[in-house]
Amino acid sequence: MIDRTVWGLFAALLVVLGAGFIAADWAQFLLVLALAKGMVVLGLLVLMRAGLVSFGQGLWYGLGCYAAGMAGNFLGVTDAFLLLALGIAASTTVAFILGFLLSRYREIFFALLNMAFSMILFGVLVKTSVLGSTDGFNVLTPTFLGYAPSEAALGDTVFLLTAVISFVVAVLIHWYLGSTMGFIGEAIRENELRVEYLGVSARRAVHIKLMIAAALSGIGGVLTAIAVGHVDPEMTYWTTSGEFVFVAILSGTGSVAAPFMGSIIFEVLRTYAYEYSPYTWQMLMGAVMLLVIIFLPGGLWSALSRSRKGEGK
């Protein structure tokens, strides 16, 4: 099912790759972080389409980060693809187990129960001195199917991997959202009772969506850990989860491309806010958020789709 969106995503991949390879190293690094976090936000988008917001995405993200870090330090695994597989396995398995409970809740109860679980992981990590408690620990330099890039080529390799995975993941989620199971999400948001009468288990659908969101966050976590080279419990803290919700609202849920676009804009905005107003950067970010909520309640993506509709007239 190669439709316009897939071609659009492919074009975006080419643009991102082109930009990333000629941009300065710091901008390329920022792009890696933005894409990795964009995947976590994409997971939130899947949930938000079903009317669910989670303040605990840091749980799945943190599991990915720590899976990558621990596999390197304790098992000697440095292959990026193996780390990705481990990260996905860790976050999805935990989501499968917790999903039996989480999928029974909706609205604020779902949001906060997610947060509660992420804070439990945070609490456990803080108590674990072998893992460096709040200081965390450094992640080993990754290899790629036997290829160990030089220090100079490492950034480019991680960037290439992140960009390609973002593209693949975006296409897969696009297909999923266009499938019957994908549309069930919107049906659950609108009227869960009817969904049940149609013969679909809403709980099961939410359970699956939760696991998809967890897998996406796990991938984002592994890629962040590889790129940054350090993991710490802050990655599971509720402020990190809050940041993902912030970006999700900033982006809007209009398209699978929105989280990546929103995430890139967020990282760029924040780094310049840091540079030009070191004392009031938080206030600047808050002001941007307020402006988006007031003038673009559908997120930044809605501005794009609105202008596109305008063209058609």
Binding site: I22, A23, A27, S133, V228, G229, H230, P278
Partner: protein, 439 residues
């Protein structure tokens, strides 16, 4: 990285181009020249809980020292203007936001803002996350305040130095001081924040006590969460334990809250309280902290600094400029900047011109220099980690000065409270601190 022309064409098609000018994102790092100002990134907490007690005082000290160094107004041997003749141009950024953010911002400092070196970092997490990136980017990085010994014990770095002693000596000195002044102490309790700093401080302190005074009994260990602010239950537990001494590494608003609540409930009368990082809170607590509390300053800083011309100059100038008592973070910031100046100038002398980074590193390793709190030696961590003496004192409210001072000061030689090079501090303490040189 390629050519700016090609770059801006592609960037123009990106959504982000609306936010940024394409040229800013694509400009490769400029070739560095040896005549312009020396651009120095300075990273410290400007927001959050660590900004008040550490971050802002450190920034103030850095600004004052950079101004004085540029003008050549620091007393000898630092009385030449600039660093090896070049003026310092600081770029100050906020340390808030966590290690992931700081790694990204470190890259931005080096690659976008083109700083020649970075001085900074109060959080131990940041001090662990940043050095591998400093190595990758090959930029001189000087850690000035963070405590964890793990930085140079778990890895070795070429481009990274720490001019402040690590945290093991805080608790070694505190335990020695407690035993010097209370030799018959039998029971010890602890209240420390539930994060790496609090856990490590308590582990170090109890290990030292077990080595130096094996009959010590640990009655209770309380780990409230950081920024808890309310210590009712913990203080009850400490009171019930009836311990001879209470150890705490609390800092900032947590420490102030604990002192106010603990004094009101008589904890400070019942037990000898030891505050290993208590010094920055003293000016704010004033009369509210009783006399006779054992207080450390993470080194011989502040009131614990030995008298010297440099110390007098530093204190007077700081008080005149900001109206505040200079607390330990200001001493550590000044120490880092003077260490940098000493290393660059030693290297410049050897090179006969402005030194390269490699020459500065060679000069910095095993460097001995003097800060406002006395001599500092880059003796451990293969010459990248500083050691210095430590001093501990007791609070005493001085009516004439109208502030809390530290008296009964005992000084501990740098080799009495620091492990030898190449030995992990935890292992060194557990094995009974062999080779410790205490008078």
């Amino acid at each position: 990285m390629a050519f700016a022309a090609r770059c801006s064409a592609v960037m123009g098609s990106l959504a982000t181009a609306a936010v940024l000018s394409a040229s800013a994102i694509c400009t490769p790092a400029l070739a560095q020249d040896d005549t312009g100002p020396l651009r120095m990134g300075f990273v410290t907490f400007l927001s959050g809980g660590a900004a008040g007690p550490f971050g802002i005082p450190a920034r103030n000290a850095a600004e004052m020292m950079i101004e004085a160094i540029n003008a050549g107004e620091v007393p000898a041997p630092y009385n030449t203007p600039g660093i090896a003749g070049r003026q310092i141009e600081p770029v100050i950024i906020d340390e808030a936001g966590g290690a992931t953010k700081q790694v990204a911002e470190f890259r931005n400092l080096v690659q976008r803002q083109n700083v020649d070196l970075v001085v900074g970092y109060i959080s131990s997490g940041d001090c662990l996350a940043v050095p591998p990136v400093a190595e990758e980017l090959q930029v001189l990085t000087v850690l000035f305040d963070c405590g964890t010994p793990r930085v140079f014990e778990e890895a070795s770095y070429k481009y990274v130095f720490r001019t402040g002693a690590h945290a093991a000596m805080d608790n070694i000195a505190a335990a020695r001081y407690l035993l010097d002044h209370m030799p018959d102490v039998k029971t010890v309790a602890g209240i420390n924040q539930n994060y790496a700093w609090g856990q490590d401080s308590w582990a170090d302190f109890t290990s030292v006590m077990k080595v130096l005074h094996p009959e010590t009994e640990i009655t209770t260990e309380q780990f409230p969460k950081i920024f808890a602010g309310q210590y009712g239950a913990e203080i009850s537990a400490l009171l019930v334990s009836g311990s001879d001494a209470v150890h705490s590494s609390l800092w900032g608003s947590d420490l102030e809250a604990f002192v106010l609540q603990g004094v009101a409930r008589g904890l400070f009368d019942e037990s000898q309280v030891v505050l290993t990082a208590g010094e920055p809170a003293l000016p704010r607590l004033g009369r509210q902290i009783p006399d006779g509390v054992i207080v450390g300053a993470r080194g011989p800083h502040g009131d614990l600094a030995p008298p010297s011309e440099l110390n007098d100059w530093f204190r007077e100038r700081f008080i005149a400029k900001y109206g505040d008592i200079p607390v330990y973070a200001t001493y550590k910031a000044a120490q880092a900047l003077l260490g940098v100046k000493a290393a660059y100038e030693k290297a410049a002398e050897a090179a006969g011109g402005f030194p390269t980074t490699d020459q500065v590193i060679a000069a910095f390793e095993h460097l001995e220099f003097v800060g406002p709190s006395g001599p500092v030696t880059m003796a451990i961590g293969n010459g990248h980690q500083a050691v210095q003496e430590n001093a501990i004192g007791m609070t005493k409210y001085d009516e004439d000065l109208g502030r809390v001072t530290l008296t009964n000061i005992t000084r501990y030689d740098q080799w009495c409270v620091n492990p030898p090079d190449g030995v992990s501090s935890v292992e060194w303490i557990k094995s009974g601190m062999p080779g410790a040189k205490c008078e």
